[in-house]
């Protein structure tokens, strides 16, 4: 088996101290292979978001390690960590997090701006990402003037624009009606299949989770069950 693109090794994450001490993750191990689509499923408070934050290198585990392509990510600090995150990951959030009052194109190219890529190249890549999501005609619109489905497509374009190897999606369809949600899901899985982008979806939506190659159920900070699509079809 090839080296997993992301792996958690006995990851424990605690918040607070003394009586307010709270263990969000109590020892989680997980391998995610390149090109895989994984759903992390659990109720709110189960620790699924904490696990995603650790995998996305937004936070450090209290004990245990997170490995990125086989290397301990805890060793990455400062600008190296920032650059790694910028070039490796794309993020899709439930609440979109689009910057109000700025254009769709500016929102999409934010990761490129952070990476320090200059004007013309940035615009070209931003437009390419928007075209892929059939939003090229909205490029100069204000991001806040779009519909919910369009906004989420802008967010996906933003996640794609830096050509990431992993996309993290936190309840990507949570704010959308089921028809629009379906369209957004299709886009994400299509990217996963056609471009080999690893997809990590945090959700409590069973239908969405069922479309992933693998479902990881998490409850009270522990992985309680891990099912592949193949296993399920056997049941």
């Amino acid at each position: 088996m090839s080296v997993p693109v992301l792996a958690a090794r006995d990851v424990v994450k605690t918040y607070g101290r003394g009586p307010t001490r709270f263990e969000a993750l109590k020892g989680v191990s997980l391998d995610i292979a390149a090109g895989e689509s994984v759903a992390i499923v659990g109720k709110s408070g189960s620790g699924k978001s904490t696990l995603m934050h650790l995998l996305a290198l937004l936070d450090n585990p209290s004990t245990g390690t997170v490995e990125l392509s086989g290397r301990n990510a805890g060793a990455l600090t400062g600008s190296v960590l920032n650059t790694t995150r910028n070039q490796t990951f794309g993020f899709v959030f439930q609440q979109f997090f689009l910057t109000p009052g700025t254009s769709v194109l500016d929102n999409v190219t934010l990761p490129l701006r952070i990476a320090g890529i200059r004007g013309a190249e940035r615009k070209r890549r931003g437009m390419a990402a928007l075209e892929q999501l059939e939003l090229a005609d909205k490029a100069s619109n204000k991001a806040t003037d779009l519909s919910g489905g369009q906004k989420q497509r802008v967010v996906i374009a933003r996640a794609l624009v830096n050509d990431p190897s992993v996309i993290f999606a936190d309840e990507p369809t949570g704010n959308l009606d089921s028809a629009t949600g379906k369209v957004v899901e299709d886009i994400l899985f299509d990217l996963n299949r056609s471009r080999g982008i690893t997809l990590i979806i945090v959700t409590h939506d069973e239908d969405l989770a069922a479309r992933c190659d693998r479902r990881v159920y998490i409850r009270d900070g522990l992985i309680v069950e891990s099912l592949t699509a193949h296993q399920e079809s056997l049941v």
């Binding site: 934050h53 937004l58 936070d59 959030f93 009052g101 700025t102 952070i114 320090g116």
Partner: protein, 431 residues
């Protein structure tokens, strides 16, 4: 982010909440505007004083009096060997008498190290000045000191060494004496009437060679050249004893024109040791400058207080901005933007707001100052031609803008640090 994108983003962000930015800019504007005007007044008046000093020239001239030995606060003991003369210096009426100098004193002055020459200042007081058959006007006459140039409206400087009698008359005498304008007076002959100690009247005729503009140091006196001064002095001293004739209120001492400040101080000390007090033109005018500088400093202080208040406005504005953009900051951090860049982004926003306020403030200050100059030149300050009340020095204006930007940066550090330290996860959760 590269620096250009940072700057563009900062400028763009500052306009996202227009009302708030505009209000903060107004606060800074008020401070910068006030500072521009107050420093403009300082620059204007000091420049005028400098112009006056340099046009007077005479950097190598010192007026010297005999120092009155004060032995206490009360009246001084009468000393029959000394003579007193009324001071010619401005002061409260009757306040100061000076011990007179004699030719012996003058001779002693020339022996002091650093003194190149010493001349007594002859005090002359003609009764009147008259042009042709016109009215007679009271007049005071000062003698021309070589090296001191008058600010002239027309004509030339009176020649100190010329044998003929030459005067420069002040502009204010033109109309009363019956001249159409300054140019008309040049070359004309005026008469000076005087009475000697025995009561006999006589007149001396002199040629008007120049017309002097009023200024800080030029009173309304007529400037006479040496030969005229001597003639007037001789005329009015007829009947005086030799001792009385040979007593002068002050003397003019010349020293090396290239003398440094230290050398001038040394010369003053040497004079003081010999019992004399030396005063340069700079000393006389330096007192003006000190007062002007002090007033401007106080005014600048008020403007500075306004700017500090505006600084808190910036802190407030940016704190709100950071609060509003918490999620955006979290997102940028998640996407790999470092804390340093976030800090720079918000600091640049503060600096930009500071720049905007100060640039507009300085611009408006210059505009208002220019309008005020035009208005004042014909009204309040009509008597002081050459005085531009508000002058703007590019260096001090640039300093104002830079200082305000510095204050803005300092004010911006608090919110910028808060933004830079924000935890991306917390920020993204923020509702």
């Amino acid at each position: 982010m590269n620096p250009l994108d940072l700057a563009v983003s900062a400028v763009g962000n500052s306009f996202r909440s227009k009302t708030r930015t505009i209000l903060t800019v107004i606060a800074i504007f008020i401070g910068a505007f006030t500072l521009t005007l107050t420093s403009g007044v300082g620059t204007g008046i000091n420049r005028y004083i400098d112009d006056t000093v340099s046009s007077i020239g005479a950097a190598d001239v010192m007026t010297v009096n005999k120092t009155v030995e004060a032995t206490g606060d009360g009246p001084q003991l009468y000393d029959p060997s000394s003579t007193q003369v009324e001071s010619q210096l401005a002061g409260p009426p009757g306040a100061s008498t000076l011990e007179a100098m004699t030719s012996e004193d003058i001779a002693e002055l020339t022996t002091i190290n650093g003194v190149e020459s010493a001349e007594p200042t002859l005090s002359v007081s003609p009764d009147y000045i008259q042009y042709g058959d016109g009215d007679q006007y009271q007049v005071s006459v000062g003698s021309v000191i070589p090296g001191i140039t008058l600010q002239l409206a027309a004509g030339d400087q009176p020649q100190y060494n010329a044998d003929d009698y030459q005067v420069a008359i002040p502009e204010s005498y033109l109309e009363p004496l019956g001249f159409a304008d300054a140019d008309a007076a040049v070359g004309e002959t005026i008469a000076l009437g005087l009475t000697n100690t025995q009561g006999a009247s006589s007149t001396l005729e002199a040629t008007v060679v120049g017309v002097a503009e009023p200024g800080l140091t030029q009173s309304s006196s007529v400037s006479a050249n040496d030969s005229l001064t001597r003639a007037l002095y001789d005329g009015q001293s007829v009947g005086l004893g030799d001792a009385a004739r040979d007593s002068y209120a002050q003397a003019v001492v010349r020293f090396d024109a290239d003398a440094t400040d230290d050398e001038i101080t040394a010369l003053k000390e040497a004079l003081a040791d010999a019992g004399y007090t030396g005063t340069t033109v700079d000393d006389q005018i330096g007192a003006f400058k000190t007062i002007i500088d002090a007033i401007v400093l106080v005014l600048n202080g008020f403007a500075g207080i306004a700017l500090i208040a505006a600084g808190f406005g910036i802190v407030n504005t940016l704190l709100m901005s950071v609060q509003e953009r918490t999620r955006e900051i979290g997102l940028m951090k998640a996407m790999g933007m470092g804390g340093g860049r976030i800090f720079t982004l918000f600091s640049l926003e503060a600096v930009f707001i500071g720049f905007l306020g100060s640039a507009i403030g300085v611009g408006a200050g210059m505009l208002v100052g220019t309008l005020a100059n035009t208005a004042l030149a014909d009204t309040l300050l009509a008597d002081l031609p050459g005085l531009t009340l508000l002058a703007f020095d590019p260096v001090s204006l640039a300093t104002i803008v830079l200082v305000v930007m510095g204050i803005a940066f300092a004010a911006g550090t608090i919110p910028a640090l808060r933004a830079a330290k924000a935890d991306p996860i917390e920020s993204l959760r923020y509702e």
